[in-house]
């Protein structure tokens, strides 16, 4: 059931989409006015009803996260927006910041009020220069109108928003690494607990939320939490609203599309993405950024004992509505909801090696299993592609990856190991072919 929407993206194609005038003409800042007139707890309740699952990859419910913030505290509270978009395949937050920055700024105002924060930092990766410029511009416009500052929208609760930049490190998308980076340190993840809601930025209660999550809060307040949640096809999974879907790789129309939560991969790839380049068959799809294990089109949904999955039982995973809990039950993750599509002419071994080189480059080096494991896997894959590896080394891949998983401070190690194990399990023949025959039967290319 393809349900395209335009709550986030309605003005994306207009040249002035980033300006306050156009944003207000389409009803902008009504939600913040409404929220700031409500008690703080009521805003959190409304966000809970919206069932906004974190759009940054972990899928944690936004309202629940905000409810963890202390009610009374002597320390200042902080809202930190994670705009360190850099997960391979993930392309959605940049569109919001560049083309609808006020939707995010309005969400930040609502969020600050909801968690009792006077200051919000938007942590943008350094490379996104246009996004930073648009955000600073939106902040200046909002401030000039009195929507930010000492009395935002007339309320005696000062709110300031600042853009903070990183300096090139994927790991800073991990929330505690991001906090260290914000504090002027090396971006190494922290042990949890304490969780950021107890001790986050500068040792104070902090909520770290993804750009699209905070933008969705604006919509939830505007439409009402329950109404927002019901836009989703997965309302009964407590996975509400609309979201941005990215699609890249071997599709005819790569891009970012907005639709209700619960679009299927088939709809994303064939209806929105225009189908596979050259009308080739699909080799596989990585559903939500590189940390999500790859799915093959002939994999079937099999979730016995859960009535919610009954309509999809025995169908292709491509026909399962994409949601945080649905994808978890078919051996992968929704992640950032941005699919990377591979046609049957792409070589899965080279695709796997490409991603492992990424993880080797981006491992922060703090935990030994991850730092060494990523290097080992990258090295073995190089040997395999060079036709110099043995079958024992193929098994070593599984052993190394399994030993990283669960043995590190943050989720980076699992985000590397899960996809690695899936590639070897699902494409074992292709790996063996490289080892036994030097990959003679492969196209040995990634690009078509």
């Amino acid at each position: 059931m393809l349900k395209q929407t335009d709550y986030i993206s309605k003005n994306y194609d207009k040249p002035d989409s980033f300006k306050l005038a156009l944003y207000e003409a389409s009803g902008g800042y009504r939600a913040a006015r409404k929220a700031l007139a409500m008690p703080r707890e009521a805003v959190v309740e409304e966000v809970k009803k919206a069932h906004i699952r974190g759009r940054g990859g972990a899928g944690f419910d936004c309202g629940t996260k905000w409810s963890f913030m202390p009610k009374e505290s002597k320390k200042p509270h902080y809202l930190v927006v994670n705009a360190d978009e850099g997960e391979p395949g993930t392309i959605k937050d940049r569109t919001i910041m560049e083309r609808n920055p006020h939707l995010l700024i309005e969400g930040c105002i609502i969020g600050c009020h909801a968690i009792g924060a006077n200051v919000c930092y938007i942590y943008v990766r350094h490379e996104l220069h246009l996004a930073k410029e648009r955000l600073w511009g939106a902040i200046a416009e909002a401030k000039a109108k009195g929507y930010l500052g000492e009395r935002p929208l007339g309320k005696a609760f000062p709110i300031e928003i600042y853009v903070h930049t990183g300096a090139g490190a994927y790991i800073c998308g991990e929330e505690t690494a991001l906090l260290n980076s914000l504090e002027g340190k090396r971006g190494e993840p922290r042990l949890k607990p304490p969780f950021p809601a107890q001790a986050g930025a500068f040792g104070c209660p902090t909520s770290v939320n993804n750009v699209e999550t905070v933008a969705a809060v604006t919509l939830a307040l505007e439409l009402g939490g329950d109404a927002f949640s019901r836009l989703s096809a997965l309302h009964e999974f407590n996975d509400g609203g609309v979201r941005l879907y990215g699609v890249s790789g071997h599709v005819k129309r790569p891009g970012v599309y907005e639709a209700a939560v619960g679009l299927t991969l088939r709809e994303l790839i064939y209806d929105l993405g225009g189908g596979i380049l050259g009308d080739r068959p699909m080799l596989g799809v990585i559903p939500g950024g590189s940390s999500c294990p790859i799915l093959l089109p002939d994999e079937l949904v099999h979730v016995p004992g859960d009535a919610r999955f009954a309509p999809y039982e025995g169908k292709s995973v491509l026909d399962l509505p994409m949601g945080v809990d649905t994808m978890r039950n078919v051996g992968t993750m929704l992640g950032t909801c941005c699919a990377i599509v591979l046609s049957d002419e792409a070589d899965p071994v080279l695709a796997c090696r490409n991603l492992m080189a990424f993880y080797k480059h981006e491992s922060c080096g703090q935990c030994t299993p991850c730092r060494e494991g990523c290097g080992w896997l990258d090295g073995i894959l190089d040997k395999i592609v060079a036709g110099k590896a043995s079958l024992e080394e193929l098994d070593l891949i599984s052993e190394v990856a399994s030993n990283v998983s669960g043995n590190t401070i943050c989720a980076f190690g699992d985000g590397m190991a899960g996809p690695m194990l899936a590639f070897v399990r699902k494409f074992r023949g292709a790996f063996e072919d490289y080892i036994l025959n030097g990959g003679q039967h492969q196209t040995r290319r990634l690009a078509l």
């Binding site: 993930t90 220069h129 930049t165 300096a167 340190k185 990215g246 890249s248 590189s290 941005c338 490409n354």
Partner: protein
Amino acid sequence: MAFSLDAEREQELSRILARYPNKQAACIPMLHLCQSANGNWLSDEVIGFVAERLDLSTAHVKGVVTFYSLLNDKPTGQHQLWVCRTLSCALRGSGDILSHCEKRLKIHAGETTADGNVTLQTAECLAACAGAPMLQVDQTYHENLTLEAVDAILDRLTQRG
């Protein structure tokens, strides 16, 4: 002459410091500011300057500089050219884009042209997968590249010197 910031950048530094509850948090923004004032790299002298101004140890600042890939602890070219190599771009031919750049600039990725004009590097995902293949020149993204488009970009880069 000892490293210092001009009046305009000193003003920017004051604005940066005002955003945070402590000086340390200004470390990365200040390093960007100093890097831009110092020909796009951070010498030990600049690192010492940042440390002193923020009441940090030079070891702390050096530790930060070496952690992040966009803080350069070595001199670099006048222009930075990053070709995204990660999966979505690779699926759309970033390998050919990179070899074309290498051939035209007569350097390998990670190197700077002999005249010091361009440093060519590979980048990990730059969040532009729908515009693959793509590259970044200094602060600008170029997406949906063809070899002809790359030629035009390189022509502009090498001519403006």
